[in-house]
Every structure is written in structure tokens, then in C-alpha cells.
């Protein structure tokens, strides 16, 4: 499966996006690139991602390649520009019911065996939920990813493992990615650009400027 899927070559472009305190946000993320986003809590990072996924009314437009957000039905847009929230939610009892297609290689890369599909969701720890939520989103083969603190509940070793798997997949598929993160060493490892939300605007932070 992971070999045959076509790699996307569309960039993700925010054009004058406005939501809450944020106004006129312009940003272009090229295929296969990760842009990390930081800012104090309450500064609107998560809401910005929600606007890009079109989950809340907002101003401006978002483009995936030449396709505008407003030109597609909501569910089709969100199937392409997929948001993985900081806290995942599960509607069925067993893990398997949430997956249409989970590759054993991916499960293994995230530290699971195939038997995880038979587990009850109520038995999962927060770290397990977070890793499975990432796999749940990635296995639907989107065209861009929006990650809201995807490793917040993981220990250091698992964080590195999940990070490596994610970055490899992002490069392979050519997904443009906006990644909300706080840990500076993580940002250095995964991001090409690091943006900071300051006073309702995105400010670029130079690589290495914080050392």
C-alpha cells in the first residue's frame, strides 16, 4: 500500500486567513515540507488549524495546489487536508472499527502488534490513543496534514520513534504539513521553518536563533 500510493505535489497556501484574534494570515507550505507553529496557549494555534480544516467559520481562503477550500464540499476538503487534534476521540468500542486499512508495517513502526486492532478503546492509554489517532489519519491517505502537538503524551524514546515515522511518511508522500509544537529540539529536527504567533500575526523565527 505504502509503495503504490501516488505522492502528492500540491502545496498548501493560506491566503488572508482570519479567525479570532488572528487576521490576514498568509503562509505557503511546499510539498513534503514541515512548518512548525508555536505560541503561548490561547494565542489561537489550534483555531488556526481548525480554520485551515474548515471546521469553523473564518475569513480568507485556503488553497491546496489549484483547488480552493470553498470549491469543495466540506467533507472532501477535510479528507484531503486532514487535522489530527491534540486530543483524539473515538466513537466505536474496538480499535479496528476506526480503521478501514491499517498496514502492519505502520503499526509496527509505532510500536504496536496486529493484536492492537482487537483492543477496546476504553483500555487505551493516552499515549496509545495519540499514536493510533495519527495512524488513523495517515492511513486515510490525505493530501496535507495539520498536526496539533502530535507527541504531547509520549515519552522521549517514543516521541523520537513517532517523529521519525511521520517525517519519513511526509517526505515519501510529499505532504505539506503544519505542525504545532513547543519542544525546540523537536522543531529543529522536523521543521524547515518555524513560525511564532505574536500579537495576532505569524512571525518567522530563524533556524538556530534560540541557541
Amino acid at each position: 500500500m505504502s509503495v503504490t500510493a501516488p505522492s502528492a505535489t500540491d502545496s498548501l497556501r493560506l491566503d488572508g486567513l482570519g479567525i479570532g484574534d488572528l487576521a490576514e494570515i498568509n503562509l505557503e507550505v511546499d510539498p513534503g515540507e514541515v512548518h512548525c507553529l508555536s505560541g503561548p496557549s490561547g494565542s489561537g494555534k489550534s483555531r488556526l488549524l481548525r480554520a485551515v480544516a474548515d471546521l469553523e467559520p473564518h475569513g480568507g481562503e485556503v488553497w491546496l495546489g489549484s483547488q480552493a477550500q470553498s470549491s469543495l464540499p466540506g467533507h472532501e476538503w477535510r479528507a484531503r487536508v486532514m487535522l489530527v487534534p491534540a486530543e483524539s476521540h473515538w466513537w466505536a468500542d474496538s480499535v479496528a472499527e476506526h480503521f478501514s486499512d491499517a498496514a502492519p508495517a505502520d503499526l509496527e513502526a509505532l510500536g504496536f502488534g496486529l493484536e492492537v486492532l482487537g483492543w477496546q478503546v476504553s483500555r487505551l492509554s493516552s499515549g496509545e490513543k495519540q499514536r493510533l489517532a495519527l495512524l488513523r489519519a495517515v492511513s486515510r491517505e490525505p493530501a496535507a496534514l495539520l498536526l496539533d502537538e502530535p507527541t504531547a503524551n509520549l515519552d522521549d524514546a517514543t516521541t523520537r520513534r513517532v517523529e521519525a515515522w511521520l517525517v519519513a511518511r511526509i517526505r515519501e508522500r510529499g505532504w505539506p504539513v503544519i505542525w504545532v509544537a513547543h519542544d525546540r529540539s523537536q522543531i529543529e529536527r522536523v521543521a524547515r521553518r518555524h513560525l511564532w504567533i505574536h500579537a495576532g500575526r505569524l512571525v518567522e523565527e530563524e533556524q538556530g536563533a534560540w541557541t
Binding site: 480544516a53 474548515d54 471546521l55 469553523e56 467559520p57 464540499p73 466540506g74 467533507h75 472532501e76 477535510r78 479528507a79 484531503r80 486532514m82 487535522l83 489530527v84 487534534p85 486530543e87 483524539s88 476521540h89 473515538w90 466513537w91 488513523r136 489519519a137 486515510r140 490525505p142
Partner: protein
Amino acid sequence: MDVIALSWWQLALAALMVVALAGCTAAARLGMSRSLLIAAARTVIQLALVGLVLEALFATERLHWVVLMALAMLLIAGREVMARQKRRLLGGWAFGIGTLAMFLSSFTVTVLTLTVIIGPEPWYHPQYAIPLLGMMLGNTMTGVALALDRLTDTAWRQRAVIENRLMLGQRWQEAVGDIRREAMRSGLMPMINAMAAAGVVSLPGMMTGQILAGSPPALAVKYQILVMFTITLGTGFGTLAAVAAGSRRLFDGRERLRLDRLSIPRS
């Protein structure tokens, strides 16, 4: 028909016993006597007024008076549906959806029953039309109110789950599917339970009344079956319409969950 006439002094005896009950609860400091007496007084006044209206209606037998009465009943039922929801849709949608759902189902089924099945002459004969519509509306109202309340309240409490399903690219119908099923269930369960228990656990009120009024039990049973089926039809289609329209209104044209369209309950 050989009904024994009831006079007011006979009712006064029953009322005296209610007053005695109120006296007992007051003596035991259970704090129910006041609301008990108010409710009893409301029963007397409301039913006496309705009796007068029905007497007048039966005497004239004019279509426009029957229609006026039916509309008044519908609007009061619509208000009641709205009042029974904890988190209701804003901007008149709670009233509008409830009233329209009841109008579509109750009125259609009542008119069909009158014209095709019972066939009184004329078809809007108030002796048949008003009681039938009253029973339909009363039950449809309960079903629609329960279903809409369950729908909006569950959507509110499970907003994060619904939104996570949307994020994964599901259509709004799929994301709210479980909640719609639950709402349908709570709207229809009372009627399904009533049909299952009819005659075994409880003697339905309408049949009991007809037998008290001197009808042969076999005829009363037939009417009761007819009424139960029509009530189920009205409740079912009314709930179906209300849940479909209500759940659609929870999402906007971009398939976003819009809980800002719900009121905040006064605790």
C-alpha cells in the same frame, strides 16, 4: 347509549377527596399540597372550557371552526415541544421544526384516517375529528420533543467526537449518525412500549372511556387498535421529520458542526 349522568355535586365529592389528600400531605410536611391543588383547579377550569368549546363546535359543525381549533391545538403543541428542550435551536427553528413536523405527520394521518378509514359524514365531523387529532397531537408532541431534546443535548455533549469524525473526512450524516439513531429511538420508544403493554398491563384510556360510555368492548377494541396505529404513524413520521431537519440544522453549508445555533440552558 345508557351512560349514567354525572352531576356537579358528584364531582364535588371526588374533589373533596383530592382536598383531603392535599391536607394529608400538608400535615406530613411533604410540600406537595400547593401544586396538587393548583393542578387540580387547572384540570377543572381547562376541561370545563374545552367542554364549552366542543359543545359549541359540535353544534355548528362548520369546517372553518374545526380548522381554527386544530390550528390552535397545533400551535400550543409546538410551543410545548420547544419548552421541553433543554438546548433548543435558536432563531425560531426549535418551534418551527417541531410544529412543521407535527403538522405534516399528525394532520396528514388524521385527515387520511377520517376520509379513508372511518368515513364520517361530513369527513370533518368534529365528534370524530377533534378527539382523534387531540390524541395524535398529544402523542406526536411527546415523541418529537423527546427526540429533539435528545438530539441537541447529545450533540452538545459529544461535540468533540462529532468534530473528530468530521476531521477524518466523514460526511455530516455519518458523523452524527449514531446520535440520530439514538434520538429516533427515544422518540419512538414510548409508543412501542405502549403498544407492547396494551391490554396486558394497562387498559388504554380511550378504550376504557368508550366502554364506560356504553360501547360494546369489541367495537371499543377496534377503535383502540386503529388509534394506536395512527398515533404510531403520526409519532413515527413526525419524529423522523424532526430529527432529519434538526440534525441538518446542527451543521452549516460547509458541513461544520454549529453548536452556536443552540441556546444555553437556564440552569
